[in-house]
Point group: C3
Chain length 146, copies 3
């Protein structure tokens, strides 16, 4: 689950900067939702000049993030606001403080239409999920009918 | 908000053609929904040969658009149909009349899981949104608890 | 409708392998849902080294699929599970058996916010949809008000 696509100017992030940013994003989820780290997938998309348009004008200084949440669903507006504030605080040194424009939005998608290494992901906060988090990898498990 | 990804053959649109198309798409939203122009983000994705498949066959003459609506939600089937007709009329000279195949679909995502330059976007049709539209940029504002 | 984006290491799939995989994916939909083959759109995205991160670490051996379903909506958890199992069995020889890591998730989006070649797609399982499937192309048709 969280699946992030980060579209950026081609030279915006070095591999080292990508590691740093994606590690910090991962930590949001491992810390606040106890997700296995490997659930956090981030794709960096290097966009060529004049391929990102804002209001009809090319913006070659723009970081645009779209992301899907699959493993968890927010259950209140307050929690959404807290999460978004946390995301912004993580992005700030990598994006805002470096002078980029930026925008981000999330969608929430269906837990049941998701597979990791061919496996049905365990229920949120279940023992198996905790085990996956500790191992930081998915392993087959016995699924019990509800 | 509207966030469009336009996947095209690599040479399909010159920078000037991208400006023209993205400007016309922007105008749909500024005219019909009074959105700030800068809300309209369009990414052009130049696809290499044999990377787009339709029914199992490569289609190197295909324009495929997927887009998310965030700032507004349609509230009736009639309005959706009107919107889609407007989109098609804007696309026609750029896509249909140039002989491309094309397809488009939209998703609607959660207003609360969206930030622009780190700011909580103002409520639809609020005074602050109108101000952002006039200025064509986001500026901090006092948020009042509901 | 089904709209798949398959992000892969740059050299993961030859054009022939893309044809084979996308043909088999298409067959899932034509066989089980009687969809027209041309509804199945698959974009292969060749990702450069160190642009896909899993848990903060680059994974250059990763196949990540995100897809939207538009033409049909699943109506039970059981059918979702059957579908996902079928998808995994199709992916296995192309992905799992070749030693890639992989993950997949689907979203379901609004039928009314979708157009194919500018046309309103016919209702699921309607005579027009069957005709489109037989022809394997969309053609204009008389729409009757409900």
């Amino acid at each position: 689950m969280p699946y992030w696509e980060i579209s950026t100017p081609a030279a915006a992030f070095t591999p080292e900067q990508r590691v740093a940013l994606s590690t910090e994003i991962t930590t949001i989820y491992t810390t606040h939702a106890n997700l296995p780290a490997f659930y956090v997938v981030i794709l960096f998309k290097a966009m060529p000049e004049d391929s990102m348009f804002v209001g009809g004008t090319p913006n070659n200084n723009f970081v645009r993030i779209r992301a899907d949440h699959i493993a968890r669903e927010f259950d209140s507006s307050d929690i959404k606001a807290l999460f978004m504030a946390e995301v912004e605080s993580v992005l700030a040194p990598h994006v805002k403080d470096r002078g980029f424009d930026w925008e981000i939005h999330f969608d929430e998608t269906d837990f049941e239409l998701w597979r990791v290494q061919g496996l049905v992901p365990p229920a949120p906060d279940s023992d198996v999920e905790k085990q996956w988090a500790t191992q930081n990898q998915p392993t087959p498990y016995d699924r019990v009918s509800p």
